[in-house]
């Protein structure tokens, strides 16, 4: 069993650099999720770990072994593909046992391992069927079975749930989580679905344009995003942003004012900030609440009433669109104005380079 260590890993196709120096270390047994928008290089990074793509620069360690030039079969990895990639001409039994057969595992041992994997995934009754006779969820199980039968050090998943329907996806997500718990193996999982990322991961790696934006636990990323990109990507609905100007700088706080809001004081890490600086204020939709004396006033554009909560789309005076999630059922009329308030501690200030200015921990405690 082993962890992973990526040291300034790079990948370029000719002139185009798609992975621009990724540093990452994964402990043994961790569940790591790569998220990011399409084309951010997350699948490429996974395929580099798998050995399906050459590494243009940097070093990849699996366990303690440098694996840059090691063949995929010798890396101790197994991979589950988005399209499952089952061999259509073989039965489930042969599909699961294919890797063992290639490794020239003795027949009785092979049989025992295949049945063991089938038992773990509760698919013993499917062993004689061909992939064409299986449903999407069953195929997914077979693909996972093919991975676990090889007892790899590291499991790699490339968007394994994106071909399933919504209900099945929730089920399989839980099963994957259970599987990780039972096997205790290192798993690397690529997805663009942030619910999967938040629920499965021990550690999320947010990628954009081939650069790691932030690495951290799901809650860390949600509460303390490192920059505008992570703040906007993690969390659903997405965080609201508005450009504001600093009016005055206090001890661990700044007072900000903008076209859309009356002055308000929020905690922030103030070093280097001066009155008059242009910064961005970010507030989660759930952190906002309707209030008569609210600092922010907008016009209601759209109301979605879900019963337990009400999602309101607002237009601010500066034409910026915001989403607000209010508790419970609210009856709001489209076109009316709505005043909003928020707890200062829930606001995040981003400086002009896009970096978050989280207040120092002691400021939070006060």
């Amino acid at each position: 069993m082993a962890g992973l260590e990526l040291k300034s890993l790079r990948k370029s196709y000719g002139e185009v650099e798609v992975i621009k120096g990724v540093d990452l270390s994964v402990e043994h047994g961790e569940f790591v999720v790569f998220v990011g928008p399409s084309g951010c290089g997350k699948s490429t990074l996974l395929r580099m770990i798998a050995g399906l793509e050459d590494i243009s620069g940097g070093e990849l360690f699996i366990g303690d072994k440098l694996c840059n030039a090691v063949e995929p079969r010798d890396r101790g990895i197994a991979m589950v593909f988005q399209s499952y990639a089952l061999y259509p001409h073989m039965t489930v039994y042969d599909n699961v046992g294919f890797g063992l057969k290639l490794a020239k595992t003795p027949k009785d041992e092979r049989d025992r391992k295949i049945r063991e994997a089938a038992r773990i995934l509760q698919m013993e009754h499917l062993l004689d069927r061909k992939p064409g006779q299986l449903s999407g969820g069953q195929r997914q199980r077979v693909a996972i079975g093919r991975a676990i039968v090889r007892k790899p050090e590291v499991f790699l998943f490339d968007e394994p749930l994106s071909n399933l329907d919504a209900a099945l996806r929730v089920d399989m997500r839980m099963e994957l989580s259970k599987l990780h718990h039972n096997l205790g193996a290192t798993m690397v999982y690529v997805t663009h679905d942030q619910v999967e990322a938040m629920t499965l991961a021990d550690k999320i790696v947010v990628l954009n344009a081939g650069v790691v934006q932030q690495v951290g636990s799901p809650i860390e990323l949600y509460q303390c995003p490192a920059n505008l990109f992570v703040a906007g990507f993690i969390g659903s609905p997405k965080m609201n942003f508005v450009p504001v100007t600093i009016e005055s700088v206090g001890a661990g706080t700044v007072t900000i004012v903008g076209k859309d809001m009356s002055p308000i004081t929020v905690p922030a890490q103030t070093s280097g900030l001066q009155p008059g600086d242009e910064v961005t204020l970010g507030i989660r939709p759930h952190a906002l609440d309707a209030s008569q004396s609210g600092a922010i006033v907008g016009r209601v554009q759209l109301v979605e009433r879900l019963g337990n909560e009400t999602i309101v789309s607002l237009q601010l005076p500066s034409k910026a669109d915001w989403l607000v999630v209010l508790d419970g059922d609210r009856q709001l009329r489209i076109g009316n104005s709505l005043a909003l308030d928020f707890a200062p501690a829930s606001a995040i200030i981003f400086d002009s380079s896009g970096l978050a200015r989280h207040p120092a921990p002691q400021a939070l405690g006060e």
Binding site: R73, A85, Y87, L102, R146
Partner: protein
């Protein structure tokens, strides 16, 4: 009445194609039953008397059982050529489709050139003589492979494009070496096209007349199509024996066709639309 009105065109087409295909075939069969004098008339008449058996015996035993030698030669030639053809064409198609290099354009041009440029017989004979393969069965096998390769590659390449690349990658992760990927995963998945290839090419090679005539001289090397020359000459031709011979050597390709008919069409259209 409505039946006739609705289907007359189809009926006409069936009758027309029936005549076009069945008349020549029935002519062959009828001739094979006739004796020498009646066959000489070359008319479409009912045979007088039953001479099929004596014709067959004579055809088979002529020139020291040459037809048997020819059947053995043709079978070896066809089986060897088609087997190698299937493997080589699938390999070339696989590599050409999967590995994009800057030589791909050139290779594709060469394949098309092989399809378009007529083979030059004399230089080929000269080359075969140079490497000592002229008039040898294995030389002939190589020639047939070379002539049929471009078409087979084109058939395969289009189909390999429909096999997802993830299938190869899954096999590589499972520990497959390149030859494992090809023989255990890709080749079995190519079965529909392989059947088409086997049928089309084996019929073509089995029925090939001109190439064995050029490259495979000598009685010991005769292939079935060349045995037709046994019964025609400048001054006299035994038409009853000639047509009996034709009937005998038409049977194997016919069986192949009847057996694989459905799969041929499936393979020809496979890859055209994703099923």
């Amino acid at each position: 009445m409505t039946l006739i009105r609705r289907y007359w065109l189809s009926a006409l087409a069936i009758i027309f194609s029936g005549i076009v295909f069945l008349v020549p075939f029935s002519f062959i069969i009828l001739m094979a039953f006739k004796d020498r004098t009646q066959a000489q008339l070359l008319d479409f008449s009912w045979p007088q008397g039953m001479h099929l058996w004596s014709n067959i015996v004579e055809v088979v035993t002529t020139r020291n059982w040459m037809l048997l030698t020819a059947f053995i030669n043709s079978t070896i030639l066809t089986v060897a050529s088609v087997t190698l053809l299937v493997i080589f064409a699938a390999m070339v198609g696989f590599v050409l489709q999967r590995r994009k290099t800057r030589f791909n354009g050139l290779i594709e041009f060469l394949i098309l050139a092989g399809l378009m440029i007529p083979p030059a017989v004399v230089p080929t004979i000269w080359l075969l003589q140079g490497i000592g393969l002229f008039g040898k069965l294995h030389g002939m096998v190589l020639v047939e492979i070379a002539y049929s390769l471009p078409f087979s590659i084109l058939l395969y390449r289009a189909f390999i494009a429909t096999i997802p690349r993830e299938m190869d990658e899954a096999a590589i992760i499972d520990g497959a070496r390149p030859l494992d990927v090809f023989f255990r995963i890709v080749l079995p998945l190519l079965w529909p096209v392989t059947v088409t290839n086997i049928v089309v090419q084996s019929v073509a090679i089995f029925n090939d007349f001109t190439n064995p005539l050029y490259y495979l001289p000598g009685n010991a090397n005769a292939t079935v199509q060349l045995t037709l020359y046994n019964f025609q000459s400048q001054f006299q031709t035994s038409y009853n024996l000639l047509f009996t011979n034709i009937a005998l050597i038409t049977i194997p390709p016919l069986i192949v066709f009847l057996f694989f008919n459905r799969q041929i069409v499936a393979g020809m259209t496979a890859g055209a639309v994703k099923g």
